[in-house]
């Protein structure tokens, strides 16, 4: 394989993985808009949904039933999270309360998952395509599974963008993001919009879980926390609260990771990502697109 093809393939896989990071970053954005809260239990939500779907599949349910069922449960968990571990803590001036309690909910799910399914890695079956299905574009072999993940992630983000900008629900959400009290005066049920944002965020976590699991091949109760921190990196890289930032931050991180993995060492992949997190936070916590968002929102 020529070096160019190798590089292109790395970039392609990077984009696919990165698209999932973008989805995770979108999940952070939605709750950040309405409540300025970032769910530190988002990772285990990702893991839990993929675990649920896997266990439904193993119990003989078809994909078409397993996935909606998994999504339903994860949305319900999002609802519970907002009600019990965020709303009572928003009244405190510091963020330590909700950081700790959302993290606690996440860890609880993680511990629950190891109790139910054990701590060892479980194989996650490929979705629609087989692991060996390839598509050839410009002479480069692209995994069909990866391509599917990329396309689906992009489509979901596009739908999200349309919903937020064009529908009444999206506008209500924007109003709440701007000023919850004023929105309430205008007749918008701010609290309901907040709850809804957590349910949508949980759904996005679930989607990310279903998309990333076939790429990873195996899933463990711990993988959620790891991928959540990568979602943080994507989010911070692009700028928290920016849709554009979430998209580009995720894709950039994916590509950087895979290039580091391909040219330096796969064991350095995540380490580099975490390093980016610290450097970006120290130098430009608003991220690349952050500044524009502050004025827009």
């Amino acid at each position: 394989m020529s070096s160019l093809e190798f590089a292109l393939e790395l970039i392609f896989t990077g984009l696919c993985v990165g698209a999932v990071y973008s989805l995770i970053a979108h999940g952070f954005n939605i709750t950040f808009w309405t409540t300025k809260v970032v769910n530190f239990g988002h990772g285990p939500f990702i893991m839990f949904c993929s675990m649920l779907v896997l266990s439904f599949l193993l119990n003989g349910l078809p994909w078409i039933v397993s996935i909606p069922l998994g999504f339903f449960i994860i949305i319900l968990l999002g609802f519970i999270l907002e009600r019990f571990s965020i709303r009572p803590l928003l009244k405190y001036p510091t963020s330590m309360g909700w950081i700790v309690s959302t993290l606690g909910v996440g860890l609880f799910l993680q511990a629950l998952a190891s109790k139910i399914w054990g701590a060892q890695a479980l194989a996650f079956p490929p979705f629609i395509f087989k692991a060996t299905d390839y598509v050839s574009i410009f002479g480069i072999q692209l995994s069909a599974q990866y391509l599917l993940v990329l396309v689906m992630a992009l489509v979901i983000m596009l739908i999200m963008e349309v919903i937020i900008n064009k529908t009444i629900w999206g506008k209500a959400m924007k109003a709440v993001a701007h000023d919850p009290n004023f929105a309430r005066v205008m007749g918008i049920k701010s609290k309901m919009v907040m709850t809804l944002s957590f349910m949508i965020s949980a759904l996005l976590a679930g989607v990310a879980g279903i998309l990333i699991a076939p790429i990873y091949g195996t899933i463990t109760p711990e993988f959620g926390m790891n991928i959540m921190v990568l979602g943080f990196v994507a989010s911070v890289l692009g700028g928290i609260g920016s849709s554009k930032g979430a998209l580009f931050g995720g894709l950039m991180l994916g590509v950087i990771e895979k290039l580091v993995g391909g040219y330096i060492s796969t064991s350095a992949e995540h380490g580099v990502a975490f390093l980016i997190l610290i450097i970006i936070l120290a130098l430009k916590p608003d991220g690349i697109f952050g500044v524009k968002v502050v004025q827009k929102v």
Partner: protein
Amino acid sequence: MTKSTFHKITDSHFTKLVLFLLFAFIPFVFAVNDVQLFIFWGINILLAQSINLLSGFAGQISLGHAAFYAIGAYTSGILMTNFGLSLVVTILVTALVNGLVGYLLSFPAGRVKEFYLAMMTLGFGFIIQEVAKEWSSVTGGVMGLSGIPSPQLGTFTFLGIPMGLAYYYWVVLIIVVFFLWMFKNFVQSYFGRSFLAVHRSELSAASIGISPQYVKQLAYTVSALMAGVAGALYAHLMGYIGSNSFGMMQSIEILVMGILGGFGTIIGPILGAGFLTFIPNKLQFIQEYQLMIYAFLLVVSFLIIPQGFAGVLNLRTSLYKNLKHKEKSPLPVHNVLAKREIIDSEANRSNQPILTTTNVIKDFSGLRALNGISIKLYRGEILGLIGPNGSGKSTLVNLISGIYPITSGKISFEDHDITNKQSHYIANRGIIRTFQDPHNVANMTVRENLLLGNHRLYQSGILSCTINFKRSLVEEQEMLVKVEQIMDLSELAHYADDQVGNLPYGIQRIVEVARAILAEPKILLLDEPAAGLSETELKLLIQLIRYVKSRGIPIVLIDHHMEFVASLVDRVFVLDSGEEIYSGDMKGMKQNKQVIEAYLGVAKHA
């Protein structure tokens, strides 16, 4: 038993000695397994106090605290296996290395707050674990590092003598007691108080001369150092360390110990550490569901017991050193201010302004809040700063005190250019301000808050405060006397030991003004001090302001209460929409057309 007798008993040296001896006897009474548990308790106490200092006192959340623990464990493990150094040396080197790591981390971490900091520390924890896992030539990678001399394996010698677990227990006991003693001294000094001030608000801490940057550097350094020593003790206890011991769950466990025990107290984290050491080990059921229970505790602790065990038991750690039995001869009130200030007042007659703003302009993203303001403030005078809401009065005070950068112009103080200097630097030079809403530290008592005002006058070094050198104790007593005097003057004495957050609004304002006076300002900026005060409180405030004036200290006073302003000021400066519309005496102002227009709208609106 009343609270005070309880404190008397727990604070007495005799009780402490008895406790120490009881703990020293543990190896004779308990089985090996239990002695090991007690050692773990000691290690966990260090960890819990480490995160307590950083998150509980300085308010910097840490979700990756196991990283410091890991660095400590690996550093000492490597030093001992590869170089055969003795425990004393490894602990000292580990403490140094960890302190350095903490210091370096404080630079990126000091720039972010709240959940950004949570993300960063989470990332830091992951990085260190990745390094431990992947750098196998040094750390042993996933296989771990074994062969560290350990008292459990009988391979541990100290000063050439082979040491068993009991000896190791005593070593740990002495180290833990020593650290707790230093920790107590530290948090009860002006350093500890400055940590809580930064926790409450960096802005208000800076306004009394505390550098938030410095506080964070110190917090990270000391916190990392303590966790590092805990790591070293752990490495020797186990004889083996693997990267799995320092994952996120360990960070969470440390956090739970702190939160559950009670952040911001000394006893709390000790109890929290004990709880998490003994309970899971003694109850099989809990061990099985350990992670779930930790997670559950994280979720509910903030909701149910936000102050932790210490809060439930009502054990608050006081934040100053009280040596009551020593001299308590109240000096006459006029000695409150240092001699330096009195000499300063000699210079009052000079015609040089002490503060000058020259053509100061401030734009807020396109909106001009102040347009070319030039003010001169002379020694010994009270300047009233008046204007309708939004006219730029507070903005001007914020510019002088360095909270906002100015767009153009110049501010100078005593011939020094202080334009766009950092807030705490300006406060340290002697320009002290109060805020529109009181910026006290709500969970500190009145006396402790007032001591915060003295912050910039303290000279004892950090070591001196930590080891309780006599000089630092004498200094603390001197400051306490000053606080006592100002409390008499401002009628706060019977609130002395009440937490400020529980007091009525008016009292909180008086506390803030008294705190500012204790900082021995060269200029005092009061931003609407009379707002929301009752009639008696207002009288008290006037009394305080007159007192400050009598010391020759110039004051800039913003307020809407015209009678109040008129009774105090020498001169007024009136702002409207960021422009100067009048400057001169009160009488002239009342006849000035522009002023009347600004307040009543266009003249003759009938």
